[in-house]
């Protein structure tokens, strides 16, 4: 096994289910030690992609190498080096936290002790409780303990915080950062832009089975040309050219609502008022926010991530 090979490398992945193309022409390269995010709406093909990379689904075409090794012929070795959290596993209800961790730990030849794992995910007080009585966040941390049981090199997390309250989400993020700090590589899928922004060193935005754009979150946001987005409604229709002439405006998008990206909202907004006044119109709504990955997704697809 090459120690310099990328953690995950795939080229030309294709997967279809009947008429539906789930993944098409997908290339990814994930470096050792980074946290890589697959961001996209439900149905974008994130789960299919991550499960192909995990060796749980077979692609119709394309190649996958994990730590420099293809799945075929290396399954035994790779399984011991990966930690996996599936999107929908329900761990057995009637087992206790400790029994569950012990079961998962028993299938790996080396790794932390059962107590260390339980302490690490902050479930020491719940060790004798049945899985059934755990909260969503506690279950997700238990599931993470199971994924960490073999001291993996790569952690695959499929929508790790979906359905969790804000505090539980922060717990999971902290555990991800701990794993990174120990030199581990993470691939996670999410449809939360804040999660991708906070955790991912690099990310790919996916839609309809392919990657639309890839890069560092800050670079993707910067590619829109400004830190701020001004969204407005008015009684008159403004033309793209008019808006472009407003000071500090870097980008104009009139597809869903009227949006302009700007570096300096304090210069752009008064000029916008003035323009609408000149046209004898009236401003009916105004909203400004920091540019997010959601704006990137909107710029790429014409849809918002949260409604897609």
């Amino acid at each position: 096994m090459s120690e310099t090979a990328p953690a995950v490398l795939c080229r030309g992945l294709h997967k279809r289910f009947g008429e539906t193309v789930a993944v098409k022409s997908l290339d990814l390269e994930i470096r050792r030690g980074e946290c890589y995010g697959l961001l996209g709406p439900n149905g974008a093909g994130k789960t299919t992609t991550i499960e192909i990379l995990e060796g749980l689904q077979k692609p119709d075409a394309g190649t996958v190498e994990i730590l420099g090794l293809p799945w075929k012929g290396n399954e035994d070795e790779l399984r011991g080096r990966l930690g996996i959290q599936l999107q929908e596993t329900e761990l057995p209800d009637k087992l206790t936290v400790e029994e569950t961790v012990r079961l998962f730990r028993s299938v790996y030849s080396s790794g932390p002790t059962v107590d260390e794992l339980i302490d690490h995910v902050l479930l020491a007080e719940k060790r004798s409780d049945h899985v059934k009585v755990l909260s969503g966040g506690q279950r997700q941390r238990l599931s993470l303990a199971c994924a960490l049981a073999g001291k993996p090199d790569i952690l695959f997390l499929d929508e790790p915080t979906t359905g969790l309250d804000p505090q539980s989400r922060r717990h999971i993020w902290d555990l991800c950062r701990d794993f990174r700090a120990g030199g581990g590589t993470i691939l996670l899928t999410t449809h939360f832009m804040d999660e991708a922004e906070k955790l991912a060193d690099r990310l790919a935005i996916m839609d309809h089975g392919s990657v639309l754009v890839e890069g560092r979150p800050a670079d993707l946001v910067a590619s829109l040309g400004g830190d701020h987005v001004v969204e407005f409604q008015s009684t008159v229709t403004l033309l793209e050219e008019e808006l472009r002439r407003i000071p500090a405006v870097t980008r104009v998008d009139l597809t869903s609502s009227n949006r302009v990206a700007t570096r300096e909202p304090h210069r752009t907004i008064p000029a916008l008022f003035q323009l609408i006044e000149q046209r004898e119109g009236e401003l009916t709504a105004l909203n400004t926010h920091h540019t997010t990955l959601d704006d990137v997704f909107l710029a790429l697809t014409g849809r918002q991530l949260r409604d897609a």
């Binding site: 749980l56 596993t89 057995p92 209800d93 087992l95 028993s106 030849s109």
Partner: protein, 342 residues
């Protein structure tokens, strides 16, 4: 080995912590044994058969002898009443005759023929007649030859089949539905370890499952094992193994509880009827006997009854054991090939 141990423990814990499953596995067979055992334990000695003695006939002299026999209940009737009671079946036999004794009855009715023989014997005995061949009657009902003795080994066989197939089938399909199988194969767990653990857990449950039936049958109905306990243990383990294999096969692809229930019923119902659980399989036509003999439950029941009722040794049960081994081998080979993990 530690992984197998944890997998076995997981299976046992998830099962034992499910009260309904426990009842159906352990309580139900005992309830069935109680019900059937009570129904067949005291097969009542039939009441004395009523017969008529025609008034004014020579039969009246024998009234006392017939009553004394205890087998028959004599009533006095006139000629017309006697005729009518014979037609309606209220009387099995009418004794009449003005010179010699006349037995009037319908030979097509079994109880009439029986009453005739009993009346003949009572009349002859009353007249001091000696029988040419002396007979001592021994009508005590003995343990070992009653219906309940025959039934218990069949119930054990039935129980090994149904709990094996239901417990394994439901367990596997549930884990498949909840994606627990998928989660486990995402670890370095050996797939054969998982399948083996299911079977080992089944074996462990036998210790909780079979002894209560045996103990209950022994305490309540005096049903005893004629053969050796070791032979019985070997056959029970083998039977459990066979049906664990068939249970894995039946659940190897099903993704819903309904699906696996259907498959289990298709496999088990024919054996329920044909394999001699409640009545002897010999009652079916000769033409299908080879098929019936080849069924795993028939082989298991025959072997269990051989040991339980006849004290057969393991060597005389080789054909049955061979049938079970063939089924076990086939079931495992197919189950491992067909098994769907996700």
């Amino acid at each position: 080995m530690s992984a197998i141990r944890e997998l076995v423990l997981m299976r046992m814990r998830t099962f034992i912590r499910e009260p309904e499953a426990l009842f159906w596995t352990f309580g139900f067979p005992i309830l069935l044994t109680i019900g059937l055992g009570l129904a067949f334990r005291e097969e009542a000695v039939p009441p004395a058969t009523p017969i008529g003695i025609q008034t004014g006939s020579v039969a009246e002299q024998h009234f006392g002898a017939i009553q004394a026999s205890g087998d028959l209940e004599a009533v006095r009737v006139d000629g017309e009443e006697g005729e009518r009671a014979l037609r309606t079946g209220d009387l099995a036999l009418v004794l009449a005759g003005s010179d010699s004794l006349v037995f009037r009855y319908d030979p097509a009715r079994p109880e009439s023929r029986e009453a005739r023989l009993l009346a003949d014997r009572a009349v002859q005995a009353g007249a001091g007649g000696t029988r040419p061949v002396g007979i001592v009657e021994d009508a005590e009902r003995r343990a070992g030859s009653r219906y309940v003795d025959w039934l218990i080994p069949g119930l054990i066989g039935l129980n090994l089949m149904s709990t094996g197939m239901w417990a394994i089938g439901f367990g596997i399909v549930f884990m498949r539905q909840k994606k627990q199988l998928k989660r486990l194969i995402a670890t370095p767990m050996k797939r054969s370890d998982f399948l083996l653990a299911q079977i080992l857990a089944r074996m462990a449950f036998l210790l909780l499952e079979v002894p209560p039936i045996m103990l209950f049958a022994w305490l309540a109905f005096d049903v005893d094992v004629a053969g050796s306990m070791l032979s019985l243990l070997i056959v029970i383990l083998l039977g459990a193994f066979t049906f664990a294999g068939l249970g894995l096969l039946a659940s190897s692809r099903a993704t819903t509880i309904e699906g696996v229930s259907g498959i289990n019923n298709v496999i088990m119902l024919p054996m329920f009827v044909l394999s001699g659980v409640f009545f002897s399989a010999n009652r079916f036509p000769d033409a299908i006997q080879p098929v019936i003999k080849a069924l795993p439950l028939t082989a298991l029941n025959d072997a269990l009854r051989g040991i339980y009722n006849e004290g057969a040794g393991i060597t005389s049960l080789i054909p049955e054991i061979a049938i079970l081994l063939v089924w076990t081998g086939l079931a495992f080979l197919l189950a491992v090939r067909l098994f769907r993990w996700q």
